[in-house]
């Protein structure tokens, strides 16, 4: 499984306070593009207080390449 704190740090560099969620049940210890594409980017909240998410990143500052680059620096 990947280091979620490391991923958090990388995303904070690219877009501070960005809201996201990720379920990781893989054996991989490094972020893969497949896993990156499973990140749920929070776009809102429903009437039950549950986050509305999308797997298509709505933030132009964040791309797979940039996240990978930041992760590799850590």
């Amino acid at each position: 499984m990947i280091d979620l704190i490391k991923l958090h740090k990388a995303l904070e560099v690219l877009k501070p306070n960005v809201q996201w969620t990720l379920k990781d049940d893989t054996d991989s210890t490094s972020l893969t593009e497949d896993l990156y594409n499973n990140i749920g980017w929070v776009t809102g909240e429903d009437s039950n207080g549950i986050a509305i998410t999308t797997n298509t990143c709505p933030h132009s500052e964040i791309t797979w390449t940039k996240v990978k680059e930041e992760m590799d620096k850590l």
């Binding site: 704190i5 991923l7 958090h8 904070e12 996201w20 969620t21 379920k23 990781d24 210890t29 929070v42």
Partner: protein
């Protein structure tokens, strides 16, 4: 009374050649009949009688699920974790004992506070999840410091009794997590090689 001497290799037909009952003191029951679906019970030191069976236990069924996955919840609104289990109650008025054992950890690079909120969401018959326990607010934990990077690990156990499911359809319980609205940082559930378990027990009313 007619008496017959038995020879070698001869036997008595107990079904036709005996009368009366053999008492407890001689290894019998002292009974000539019993009552259907009842059991034998000593009503005295040498007396047996038919008696109703004892009532069954209160525990009707159990379900459990084990997890080693992890999830990140860097959101100010609740998002679902992988930790979930389902039970189908056998009666509408039974109670469901719910137990989540897990590890959670939080991280913050700087700032004054980081807090995690955990809650169990319930779904009945696939009808959609809503927050169930705690009914509002969530189980909050975290740390408040003046400055510096911090990571904190915690192993919460969330247990409660569901007395309101009122259904014999499938009931799902799932752990949801979020970051407190006044906090920054990272909220996570589980971790590499960290086991979590969900236990559900249906208890008769």
């Amino acid at each position: 009374m007619a008496l017959t001497r038995l020879g070698l290799n001869q036997s008595i037909n107990l079904a036709t050649n005996t009368t009366g009952t053999l008492g407890v003191a001689n290894g019998g029951t002292g009974l000539t009949s019993g009552t259907t679906d009842q059991i034998l019970k000593f009503t005295g030191s040498t007396t047996l009688a038919s008696a109703a069976q004892a009532a069954g236990g209160k525990l009707l069924q159990t379900q459990s699920a084990l997890f080693t996955s992890q999830s990140a919840h860097n959101s100010e609104t609740y998002t679902a974790s992988n930790y979930t289990d389902q039970i189908t109650p056998s009666a509408t008025n039974s109670k469901i004992f719910v137990c989540f054992n897990l590890r959670s950890h939080i991280y913050q690079a700087s700032g004054s506070t980081v807090r995690s909120q955990l809650a169990i969401y319930r779904q009945i018959n696939g009808g959609g999840y809503s927050e169930f326990f705690p009914a509002n607010g969530g189980t909050s934990w975290g740390i408040g410091v003046s400055s510096g990077e911090r990571t904190m690990y915690y192993t919460p156990q969330i247990t409660f009794m569901d007395t309101t499911h009122n259904t014999t359809n499938a009931v799902d319980y799932t752990l949801y997590a979020r970051r407190n609205t006044s906090a920054t940082g990272s909220v996570n559930v589980g971790g590499s090689s960290i086991q979590a378990q969900v236990i559900l027990m249906e208890i008769a009313a």
